[in-house]
């Protein structure tokens, strides 16, 4: 059947439920998209068409036998390769986990399967989700479907590219400092970072535990609502998951919000903002005004420190979390022998007094981890070390509270904060890969939501003259996902940026 691959998950779900198409027909149509796009884009680290077809056949058989097809009814979902899956390797884009096979599914993955979803490949990412371009993947290169000379964003770059290229309608990404929203913006799709705790982190390989959150990526907010519905909710296996009830996002998403109060932060439109992004975001704000929203200019002075705060807290948590990669329990293991010819790395150890076990740790980690990961482990180790802990880590946690309280106060007077997702559209591969600090500054607009644990959405709001997508970020108070999705649907109902696809 021609054209199936062009339909969105909402239409496809109806057709699957009514029996108009089978899950296997859908998978086969998407495998044609995969064949056409994947060689150019490289969204996936592991992709098993036969496995997807087997799962589709099984779902079709159960549906034919009268079973409830579930919320996802046979829809495929690509999974960022930092969420554990029993039927695929889970590499985190790292050499150290290249061959790792998880003995369990992440709760997000288990929920997708229980809802009749099909795991449609594992997508590429910056190693351990550390990066904003997917160039830090140790295993593969991913390109932007709109222009393959440009990065897809990151760290959920493979996830964003898989949806943007039309290989699958739904994707799961993760967001620690903007890693769902920024690639969604760069690839012209929608992506939601839920409130911290809204979605279980069980089986999400930890980067920064107090910031990490998994969330849905798709073309439209209706599709985000469907996927969020599937994955949200308390999980006894994640003590930090929130006990709050899960609203029916899909039922309310198309109800417009009267009298919406929109906050606009003057700082977001500083000189650093690309003029085309500036113009597209201002147009988007005017669309909201035409739909009855009132705009309020607000100030968030503490948020100016968000990047500095984030780049203390995230590396500190990372240095602790990544201590588990020791060459003993799982992952790459290097030799512990002290023969000089085995190691070019003589400088940081005194091999005479070092134990073979310490040598095993140091060498396994040196060989298995990439430069950005080492940099962040080093930064975190420094900030947590004796004599510096108070000045860096404790101070950053104090500023984090100031940032959170300032946002909570802002949401007393406005419903949403709207602005650009990124300072500019997608840059070219290689442009920033040798300058870590300038890469970090890319996260300018996105990290506050992680530090404050609040939900934030990015939706497409324009195209640059060079044909690259522009993203609009919308932030809201904790657990206001329903409000975010409804406001996003108002915008997408009045505009036609989100259905656009890159030229084949």
């Amino acid at each position: 059947m021609a054209g199936i691959a062009q339909l969105d998950a909402i239409q496809l779900r109806q057709m699957l439920r009514s029996g108009q198409i089978s899950s296997l027909e859908l998978i086969d149509a998407l495998l044609e998209q995969y064949a056409a796009w994947e060689p150019r884009v490289g969204a996936f680290l592991n992709f098993r068409p036969d496995q997807a077809r087997d799962q589709a056949r099984e779902l079709d058989r159960r549906r034919a036998a009268g079973a409830d097809p579930g919320l996802l009814a046979g829809l495929p979902v690509s999974i960022k390769d930092i969420l554990c899956t029993v039927d695929y390797p889970t590499t985190c884009g790292s050499r150290i986990l290249r061959d790792y096979r998880s003995p369990f599914d992440a709760t997000v993955v288990a929920r997708i399967r229980r809802a009749g979803g099909i795991v449609f490949g594992k997508t590429n990412l910056d190693e351990f989700a550390m990066g904003s371009s997917t160039e830090n993947s140790a295993l593969a290169v991913t390109r932007n479907p709109w222009n393959v000379a440009h990065v897809p964003g990151g760290s959920s770059g493979g996830a964003a590219a898989s949806v943007s290229a039309g290989i699958c309608p739904l994707a799961i990404g993760t967001d620690t400092g903007g890693s769902i929203r920024q690639p969604a913006a760069f690839c012209g799709i929608s992506g939601l970072k839920p409130t911290y705790g809204r979605v279980s982190r069980f089986g999400l390989v930890a980067f920064a535990s107090s910031l990490d959150q998994a969330g849905p990526m798709a073309r439209s907010v209706q599709e985000l609502a469907l996927l969020l519905q599937t994955i949200a909710g308390h999980d006894p296996r994640d003590a930090t998951s929130a006990p709050n009830d899960v609203p029916n996002y899909s039922a309310s998403v198309d109800e417009p919000l009267p009298g919406l109060r929109i906050g606009v932060v003057r700082d977001h439109f500083d000189a650093g903002l690309d003029p085309e992004v500036d113009a597209a975001v201002r147009d988007a704000i005017r669309v909201f005004q035409s739909l009855g929203a009132k705009v309020h200019e607000i100030e968030l002075p503490n948020s100016r420190r968000a990047i500095a705060t984030y780049y203390v807290i995230a590396p500190c948590e990372a240095s602790s979390n990544l201590a588990r990669y020791d060459g003993v329990h799982y992952g790459h293991r290097s030799s512990d022998r002290s023969r000089d010819d085995e190691s070019p790395h003589e400088s940081t150890r005194e091999s005479t007094r070092e134990s073979p076990l310490a040598r095993l740790y140091c060498r396994s980690r040196a060989a298995g981890l990439g430069n950005e990961v080492k940099r962040r482990i080093m930064l975190g180790t420094y900030a947590l070390s004796s004599g510096y802990y108070e000045a860096y880590y404790l101070q950053a946690m104090r500023v984090r509270r100031l940032i959170r309280d300032e946002l909570l106060a802002a949401f007393q007077t406005v419903d949403l904060i709207v602005g650009p997702t990124t300072p500019a559209p997608a840059y070219r591969l290689g442009d920033k890969s040798n300058d870590p600090l300038s890469m970090y500054l890319e996260d300018l607009y996105t990290v506050s939501a992680n530090l404050a644990g609040m939900p934030a959405l990015s939706i497409p709001c324009g195209l640059s003259r060079g044909g690259l997508p522009i993203g609009l970020q919308m932030q809201a108070a904790p657990f206001a996902e329903e409000l975010l999705l409804r406001a996003g649907a108002m915008y997408q109902g009045a505009t036609d940026w989100h259905p656009r696809r890159p030229a084949a």
């Binding site: 061959d99 790792y100 003995p103 369990f104 911290y196 705790g197 107090s210 003590a239 930090t240 503490n302 420190r305 500095a308 705060t309 203390v312 240095s319 201590a323 060459g327 003993v328 329990h329 799982y330 790459h332 293991r333 512990d336 070019p344 790395h345 400088s347 940081t348 150890r349 134990s355 073979p356 076990l357 310490a358 095993l360 140091c362 060498r363 980690r365 040196a366 981890l369 080492k374 940099r375 482990i377 080093m378 930064l379 420094y382 070390s385 860096y392 101070q395 950053a396 946690m397 104090r398 500023v399 984090r400 509270r401 100031l402 959170r404 870590p436 600090l437 970090y440 644990g453 609040m454």
Partner: protein, 96 residues
């Protein structure tokens, strides 16, 4: 604050990372640059502000103390680079 090679060497030891001479040079300048950037936090007045470790500030999450199936031993060992079927194997830790 500028970091020197000796600082970076000491941090690498704490982090259990072996670094080449080249990595040591690159990281010394990159960490100096990044630490210089995050030092802006020192200028913020935070007297009396309680550190925020966790946005939800959930405390005392309890569950029933019931026995549940855990990860079977063979599954726990299945990714280990070296094991003997019962234990993870490491090089000898105590002296010869």
């Amino acid at each position: 604050m500028a970091l020197d090679r000796e600082d970076v060497r000491r941090i690498a030891e704490l982090a259990r990372l072996e670094l080449s001479q080249g990595e040591l040079t690159t990281l010394t300048s990159q960490l100096t640059q990044i630490v210089g950037y995050v030092e802006q936090l020192q200028a913020i007045e935070t007297e009396g502000v309680v550190p925020l470790a966790h946005a939800l500030e959930l405390t005392n999450v309890f569950r029933e103390d019931q026995l549940e199936p855990g990860l079977p031993r063979d599954a726990a060992l299945s990714n280990a680079p070296k094991h003997d079927g019962a234990y993870f194997l490491v090089p000898a830790v105590l002296g010869d």
